[in-house]
């Protein structure tokens, strides 16, 4: 009905949909290595009873044997098969880390969203409590909380949640504030959407990406902290096969190097894998590296 310049085709070459989210970095060796290792450990954790040759708690074998064909990682001072214990250890560290990161992420995000949305006094109070946690080194604070709560894996996990939630709060708050002031949110509000509606439709989708990146990297931290607490005797209690406490045993029996080394290597590989994954996820969500197709003008 109106006389217009002819309808022009899309000026820019259209990147295939999936390519917009799988940039060059996704093909990088590190990301693949990380993904493979992480998935590998997940498989191990799930199928542990099928993979492990022996019962991790059974002390039936000759004690302190070096690695051999019968016991790939040797046996520890009580005659337990280290290989099986390392495998079963994944069933402790990984699921707990997943759960506690999920908890920290949820709590932290809600706090951050509330702070960014309501601003004013609410913002002040919430962020100061986050700052309080930030003021302490993570391991120290976790130790204190765990010690107060008592020994045991559950309490250690709780302690780590206390230490981890503020990072999410800070990230989410920043995003809610900046996205909330953006012009597309203003447009949505002009069209009649309430603040809450734009929070759901416009703000949160933009928040999800960075939060996921943080969570992935946090998984690595969680496993480290958990192992650390167990190492100190505050987390897993004997005879549970947990990597951190296994490393602790290993320090007492240095001459039998296999007892501490293999669990240590397990921690190392898992943490590294999640770090690689987290880094490449970060590239995926950064608009500058994610979009390859010509955007804007030269």
């Amino acid at each position: 009905m109106t006389d217009l310049a002819e309808i022009d085709e899309l000026a820019l070459p259209v990147a295939p949909r999936n390519r917009a989210f799988l940039p060059a970095s996704w093909r990088e060796p590190l990301a693949i290595v990380g993904a493979v290792i992480a998935v590998g450990w997940l498989v191990v954790a799930i199928f542990a009873p099928l993979i492990a040759p022996d019962n991790p708690l059974s002390q039936a074998f000759p004690a302190s044997q070096p690695p051999s064909i019968h016991h790939y990682f040797g046996t520890d001072e009580l005659g337990r098969d280290v290989y099986s214990r390392v495998i079963y250890g994944s069933r402790v560290s990984i699921p707990i880390a997943l759960v506690l990161v999920f908890l920290a992420m949820t709590i932290g995000s809600m706090v951050g969203a509330a702070a960014g949305y309501f601003r004013g006094l609410t913002d002040g109070v919430l962020m100061r409590s986050a700052d309080l946690v930030f003021a302490f080194p993570a391991i120290i604070l976790a130790m204190v909380v765990a010690a107060v709560l008592g020994r045991g894996l559950a309490n250690a996990a709780l302690a780590i949640v206390v230490v981890a939630w503020p990072s999410y709060a800070r990230v989410v708050r920043g995003l809610v504030l900046s996205v909330g002031d953006s012009e597309y949110v203003q447009s949505a509000r002009l069209l009649g959407a309430s603040s809450r509606r734009t929070l759901m439709r416009d703000v949160l989708p933009n928040v999800a990406g960075p939060v996921l990146v943080l969570a992935t990297l946090d998984l690595a931290n969680a496993i480290l902290l958990l192992s650390g607490l167990s190492f100190l005797g505050l987390g897993a209690q004997p005879p549970t096969a947990e990597w951190g406490s296994m490393v602790a045993e290993g320090t007492q029996y240095f001459q039998w190097w296999w007892i501490g080394t293999f669990p240590g290597l397990a921690i190392f590989t898992v943490v590294l894998a999640f770090n690689f994954l987290g880094d490449s996820l970060r590239d995926v969500f950064d608009p500058r590296t994610a979009r390859q197709a010509g955007e804007g003008r030269a």
Partner: protein, 312 residues
């Protein structure tokens, strides 16, 4: 001139050919992404690492492309100098205006502090900065955009260069401020016999002070000649279309602006043959296969073998 881009190199500028006389304002018009700025950056060696430049650029008989850095540095700033678009980022925020001016002067002309200061005050007066002595001690953030641009011009002219390249010098400025800068440039080039290369997307700006105009499209010059000729009777379809799309302050209002369908090509995705052919209403088959060379046609140069707009 090729620039690196992800996925290999992309031809950004292709076969550009200029001759610039002293005291003349040489205007380059083109939309963003047309390669106009890049063709000039090459002269100063300011292109990104992995770019390749072919061809020759001679300044006063000396070949600039591929000149060793040391020699280039002697010329750049002294005989050849540049002013950029954004007055807010082209001056150093932490150095006083005086320092930025005199650093230049002392580097190239070897003057002592007092003489350099005196010269700096002269330069600021030349560009009509009020209170030049006090201005020497002030910092860039204390000045408005228009003033900053004048300071940038003063710095560029500190060593009395023979050629000044001004890349979109007024784009970020208000229209009355822009008018002031254009008048300044016009006066300076007459007073100092300075050659100016004025790069802009705003044809109106060129029309104000340029003597010759070159129209860029997708990395190539499509038409070039004396300003009056090119802008009053354009021969290349793109030039014509560009002028038709512009609202003229004295034209009849009822005529709608004639927009060119489609959009300019992105570097790296330039259509074969004449880059403008997909949008050109006079295009014939050969336009889509053969790249039209820029050839002299009368007193101008034109890259359009069809030449549909020639007046009989």
């Amino acid at each position: 001139m090729r620039l690196p881009a992800s996925g290999g190199q992309v031809t950004v500028v292709d076969g550009v050919d200029y001759e610039i006389e002293p005291g003349q304002v040489f205007g380059i018009a083109g939309e963003s992404g047309s390669g106009k700025t890049v063709s000039m950056l090459a002269l100063f060696g300011l292109l990104p690492e992995r770019s390749t430049v072919e061809g020759s650029a001679r300044f006063d008989g000396r070949e600039l492309l591929g000149m060793p850095r040391k020699q280039l540095r002697q010329i750049s700033g002294r005989e050849l100098s540049m002013v950029f678009q954004d007055p807010f980022t082209s001056l150093h925020p932490m150095l006083s205006v005086g320092q930025q001016l005199t650093e230049h002067i002392r580097l190239h002309l070897g003057l002592d502090r007092r003489s350099a200061d005196r010269r700096a005050v002269e330069l600021l007066e030349d560009v009509r900065i009020p209170g030049p002595e006090a201005a020497l001690r002030a910092y860039p953030h204390q000045f408005s955009g228009g003033m900053r641009q004048r300071i940038a011009i003063a710095i560029a002219l500190a060593c009395r260069p023979r050629l000044l390249i001004a890349d979109e010098p007024t784009t970020a400025l208000d229209v009355t401020v822009q008018a002031g800068i254009l008048r300044l440039l016009d006066r300076l080039r007459h007073e100092h016999d300075l050659a100016v290369v004025l790069i802009t997307h705003d044809v109106g700006v060129l029309s104000s002070i340029a003597d010759t105009v070159s129209i860029f499209y997708a990395g190539r010059v499509v038409e070039s000649g004396v300003r009056d000729d090119v802008l009053q009777s354009p021969r290349h379809p793109y030039t014509r279309a560009l002028l038709d799309a512009l609202p003229h302050p004295e034209a009849a209002k009822e005529k709608p602006l004639v927009a060119i369908g489609g959009a300019p090509p992105i570097p790296g995705r330039i259509p074969p043959g004449c880059a403008f052919s997909p949008r050109c209403k006079y295009a014939i088959d050969s336009c889509r296969t053969d790249v039209p060379p820029l050839v002299p046609v009368g007193s101008r140069r034109l890259a359009c073998p069809v030449d549909p707009l020639r007046t009989a």
